[in-house]
């Protein structure tokens, strides 16, 4: 009996050592503690359950390893005859049950905390799109799309990858600290999931339905997350960046946003003809941000799912047909309708870019319709024109 205890102790100390090493390394590879009261509660809960599970593991594996070492035939051990015991069965039915109750109590408490229904200071509607997020500040009249900012060159390995590779966006969602922010989550097309680990928030965005989650951020900073529900080919490329600012800085940001919105509205009014150089320059940018995921920077696409634009019948053919596809998408394929998310100028530029790149403007090869410029006014007309 004495030796058993000694052996057990030795095993236990090994295990504890292992756990020690584990927790040192955990800082990088464990769940983040986060910056909201809820994320901290979740972390504590996670660690509690983890240690309970480790304790059960040490016990079960301890007995198992003991038996494997000591009850070997090669050691001359002769099999015992016992094969059932009601008492033992009841013990290991009831004790785990009690442990589960002990686990369920804190879990229930945290879940109740998450259901806090007090009034929020700020409401933000989050809409998942293939493959970007749209944020609408309900109380401020601010509204914008947030796209992946990592360049295709980085993804394709033609440029060194930045520090926040795939976790950076062109326009982050900015929120104040120490305020209760209520997120209202929905989607435009398929199911997405808005997840920022450090806020302890993950909510599925479901088309046609609205769900809510909330966070109260206690520390200013930049917090990054990703879409957590498979939503198509760009699923890995729609990150979330939350910038938490202290109240005064946040107020300043809101004021700025309202100014920007005004300027953009004015710019849209102009719609004056642009030169080829202007269109091509703007078009390349739009193409890089919007089209390359599928159609590739080379215009070669990834057939059969994503057809090549180089030498494509549509891109070298009638402009109206191409505009219709860009505006309304193609049903049953990944080609989405860009009418809502791109301005007339963007569409004019990107269509011009496609028509004049990769040799698509070769009229000798593709006929008279190839190449040519498309002006924002034509896009506006196409929007109005009946698709019929």
């Amino acid at each position: 009996m004495h030796t058993i205890i000694r052996k057990c102790c030795r095993w236990m100390s090994w295990m504890l050592l292992l756990c020690g090493v584990g927790s040192a390394f955990a800082s990088k590879y464990n769940m983040p503690v986060g910056v909201t009261p809820i994320s901290r509660e979740i972390y504590t809960l996670h660690m509690t359950i983890f240690w309970i599970v480790v304790a059960i593991g040490i016990l079960v594996f301890g007995v198992l390893i003991y038996a494997l070492i000591n009850h070997r035939k090669s050691q001359g051990h002769v099999a015992a005859k016992f094969h059932s015991s009601l008492k033992v069965e009841l013990i290991w039915t009831i004790i785990p049950f009690l442990i589960l109750i002990a686990m369920a109590i804190p879990a229930t408490r945290v879940l109740m905390l998450m259901e806090d229904d007090s009034d929020a200071d700020l409401n933000i509607k989050i809409t998942g799109y293939q493959w970007k997020w749209k944020y609408d500040y309900l109380d401020e009249n601010i509204s914008f799309f947030s796209n992946l900012a990592t360049t295709q060159d980085q993804i394709q390995g033609k440029a060194p990858k930045g520090e926040n590779y795939l976790l950076e966006v062109d326009k982050p969602i900015v929120v104040p600290t120490h305020k209760k922010i209520r997120f209202l989550v929905t989607a435009n097309d398929v199911i997405h999931s808005w997840w920022v680990p450090e806020l302890g928030v993950k909510r599925d965005a479901i088309p046609g339905f609205i769900h809510e989650a909330w966070a109260k951020i206690e520390k200013p900073g930049t917090y990054r997350g990703q879409c957590a529900e498979l939503c198509g080919v760009g699923h890995g490329f729609m990150p979330i960046v939350v910038v938490a600012l202290d109240e005064p800085d946040y107020k300043k940001w809101v004021a700025e946003q309202k100014g920007v919105a005004l300027k953009q509205a004015n710019a849209l009014e102009e719609n004056k003809p642009l030169t080829k150089a202007e269109l091509m320059e703007a078009g390349q940018k739009v193409y890089g941000a919007t089209c390359t995921v599928c159609h590739q920077a080379t215009g070669m696409g990834m057939p059969p799912a994503f057809p090549a634009l180089k030498g494509s019948k549509i891109v070298t053919g009638d402009v109206a047909k191409q505009l219709s596809i860009v505006l309304h998408g193609v049903k049953g394929t990944a080609m989405q309708a860009f009418g809502e998310q791109l301005t007339d100028k963007d569409i004019a530029a990107v269509v011009t870019y496609q028509r004049n790149s990769w040799g698509n403007d070769d009229q000798a090869k593709f006929g008279k319709a190839a190449g040519g410029l498309v002006q924002p006014s034509e896009v506006a007309a196409a929007r109005k024109a009946s698709s019929n």
Partner: protein, 192 residues
């Protein structure tokens, strides 16, 4: 290969196979039965924030001791070229009070389209207390190209609404259900 051993069991076997096959068919039916069952449960428990259909006006008085904020949201699904927004972003109201609000809708295309607005409520526990007397979501809406309109919504909040509910968000998503429009997009498919 048949022997006595099997033969004796054949009758018993057949009965068992028939019983198991009917069980399979029953479970297939059960899968379909889940659909209406789920909808009933959703409306009772507010799963997924589904609201129920038309009710009559509430004239049993107003609970003035409570004020509830109702927020209105609008989403257009799958980039349909419509403008769709609530005229008012929020209203503050008492339980039992009948309220009329409007959603502005505009068909930005040049052709007639039919749309369906789908309501959803959060927190989901509030869904069954938000009662609509008149709503544009009760039927499909048809509008000509470039036409615009204010769609009415008449509703009240049931006085039995749980005490912990202070804010209710009512969101509408506008889906295109035009047949011809779908066909137009489908016709694009052939060209790819």
């Amino acid at each position: 290969m048949k022997n006595d051993f099997q033969f004796l069991r054949e009758k018993k076997q057949r009965r068992l196979v028939i019983a198991l096959t009917s069980f399979v068919l029953m479970m297939f039916g059960f899968g379909y039965a889940m659909v209406p069952l789920y909808n009933v449960l959703c409306k009772q428990l507010g799963i997924n924030g589904k609201t129920s259909g038309r009710v009559v006006l509430d004239d049993t008085g107003i609970d003035e001791s409570r004020v509830i904020t109702v927020q209105f949201l609008a989403t257009t699904n799958a980039y349909i070229p419509w403008e769709f927004r609530p005229r008012l972003r929020t209203v503050r109201m008492h339980p039992g009070e009948n309220k009329a609000v409007a959603y502005f809708a505009r068909n930005n295309t040049d052709h007639e389209m039919t749309v369906q607005a789908i309501p959803s409520v959060t927190p989901s526990g509030a869904a069954k207390y938000l009662k609509k007397t008149e709503c544009f979501c009760f039927t499909q809406q048809k509008m000509k190209g470039q036409e615009e309109m204010d769609w009415p919504l008449l509703f009240h909040i049931d006085k039995n609404v749980p005490k912990n509910i202070h804010t209710i968000t009512l969101a509408y998503t506008l889906f295109d259900v035009t047949k011809s429009h779908a066909q137009v997009i489908e016709s694009n498919q052939g060209h790819l």
